[in-house]
């Protein structure tokens, strides 16, 4: 997110504190101090990872500190799950299987490892899916469950939250 705050001592620290208060993790802080600026404000870009659903709280806390939020960047896909698919994966159009996830718009396949022991035998693949949050991940897995059933693939889902 990109923040704008008063250029006075202690302001940056005050702006960073709410992030840890809501359980966030700061990945990078980019500090623009423009000596030519006449507005006596400081522009800061912060890259951070937040637990789900805490963003609204953080925004409210920052506002209380008198920090102006210029922009909140797009949330990246941070939620990962790995599944195993067994069956005639190529014959049932693997790229279509992947596309069914990717085309949801809220989840995507980010990694595939595949093992094909012999022609005409069932192959096995490990597929990792990324989504923005748990609800989207559950929805993506529901899509995959349907596709697997339609294509007679055995889908092995993770127990709990395995990335």
């Amino acid at each position: 997110m990109k923040l704008e705050m008063k250029d006075s001592p202690g302001q940056l620290v005050a702006a960073l504190k709410p992030i840890s208060d809501v359980g966030g993790n700061i990945i990078a802080v980019i500090h623009h101090h423009d000596p030519a600026s006449s507005s006596h404000t400081l522009n800061v870009q912060i890259v951070l990872a937040l637990p789900e659903g805490r963003l609204d709280k953080l925004v409210a806390l920052l506002k209380e500190q008198g920090v102006h939020i210029q922009r909140i960047g797009k949330e990246r896909l941070l939620y990962k799950r790995t599944v195993i698919l067994i069956g005639h994966l190529m014959h049932t159009d693997l790229s279509d299987t992947v596309d069914q996830i990717d085309s949801t718009g809220f989840a995507e396949v980010c990694e595939i490892s595949m093992s094909m022991p012999a022609i005409n035998e069932r192959s096995t693949s490990r597929v990792t899916i990324k989504a923005t949050n748990r609800a989207d991940m559950d929805a993506a897995l529901a899509v995959l469950r349907q596709v697997a059933q339609k294509k007679s693939l055995l889908l092995i889902e993770p127990l709990g939250e395995i990335a």
């Binding site: 790995t82 599944v83 195993i84 067994i86 490892s113 093992s115 022991p117 069932r122 192959s123 096995t124 693949s125 490990r126 055995l154 092995i156 889902e157 993770p158 127990l159 709990g160 395995i162």
Partner: protein, 328 residues
């Protein structure tokens, strides 16, 4: 405390041997197998009956049936350990009904009647003022029911996850450890005596599903039936699946899972971290209970075996003795 023992297979023999050896204060007044029976209200010499069974194949008088023993012997507890029939529950179901009608406590290792007719049997037992106990039906020696009713008393059980079939767990353990195919691991399980000649019941997940149904009915009294369980077996797994799982520090286990709030009731092979407490080796069983106060509790132990199952049966009998008092 007087009891009759119906069924002299592996479990029945184990119960008989342990009662004879450990003398826990249980007098056996009747014994029956599938073709014969004997009654002695002063107490049967169990060892000689077991010896008779070994020598002749029958435990007693061919003219005395199991039902005769149940109806005519003098006893407080029916120990019902005949083989499970998952479709009808018989003949055990009839035995249990007959004993309940006579106001006798029931201790059984038989999954059929409990999975099929839990509501009816538990209501009948309550009406007659007797106990219906079945610790041995799920997880062999692991004291699951005791934990639920005593140790976790007052807790709300939110979800359960279990490894409830030793045959599947053995096969998966061997596929992961040695890179065996499913067929090779199954053959090995047969040689070790862990799998039946017809392994369908185990490898298709049916046995685990029946145990899940018993647990769900016990915990939530929701009238769950076998047909409600979403079922996937392990028979289509490839060695590559276990290898790919391994690369991510995971493995595959057949997990029985019930989460009523999410309407989840299923048995399926699952990807699971190797460090997860449910990842047990060989024929072991494990069960995680997720509760509101205690949070997660995982129990691990022997899921089958003659003496191991006898442990659960004898535990149930002594529980009845301690909670219902001795009756004349």
């Amino acid at each position: 405390m007087k009891a009759v023992l119906i069924g002299l297979g592996s479990v029945g023999r184990g119960v008989g041997e342990m009662i004879a050896a450990k003398k826990p204060g249980i007098t056996i007044t009747g014994i029956a197998d599938s073709k014969s029976g004997c009654i002695c209200n002063e107490g049967i010499d169990i060892e000689s009956v077991l010896e008779n069974k070994r020598r002749t194949g029958a435990c007693g008088d061919l003219a005395i049936s199991a039902m005769d023993v149940i109806k005519n012997a003098d006893y407080d507890v029916l120990i019902e350990v005949t083989p499970t029939n998952a479709l009808t529950g018989e003949p055990a179901l009839g035995y249990i009904r007959a004993a309940l009608a006579k106001k006798k406590h029931i201790v059984t290792s038989n999954k059929g009647p409990i999975a099929l007719a839990y509501k009816e049997l538990s209501a009948l037992a309550k009406k007659k003022g007797v106990a219906l106990r079945y610790e041995a039906t799920v997880g062999g020696a692991i004291p699951i029911m005791h934990t639920l009713e005593d140790g976790l008393n007052g807790n709300e059980i939110v979800a359960i996850y279990g490894v409830l079939n030793g045959t599947c767990n053995y096969i998966l353990t061997r596929m992961a450890a040695e890179g065996l195919t499913y067929e090779q691991a199954l053959m090995e399980a047969r040689e070790m005596g862990y799998a039946e000649a017809d392994p369908t019941y185990d490898v298709k997940g049916i046995d685990a599903a029946i145990k899940l149904v018993i647990l769900a009915n016990t915990i939530w009294g929701d009238g769950t039936k076998l047909a409600d369980v979403d079922l996937t077996g392990i028979d289509l797994l490839t060695p590559e699946a276990l290898r790919l799982a391994e690369e991510g520090d995971c493995t595959i286990r057949l997990i029985a899972e019930a989460i009523p709030a999410q309407k989840i009731l299923r048995v399926s092979p699952r990807l699971i971290e190797k460090s997860h407490p449910l990842v047990v080796e060989g024929t072991l069983n494990a069960l995680t209970l997720e509760t509101d106060m205690a949070k997660e509790i995982t129990l691990i132990g022997k899921g089958a075996g003659s003496i191991e199952t006898a442990s659960a049966i004898i535990g149930d009998i002594l529980y009845i003795r301690d909670h219902y008092g001795k009756r004349a």
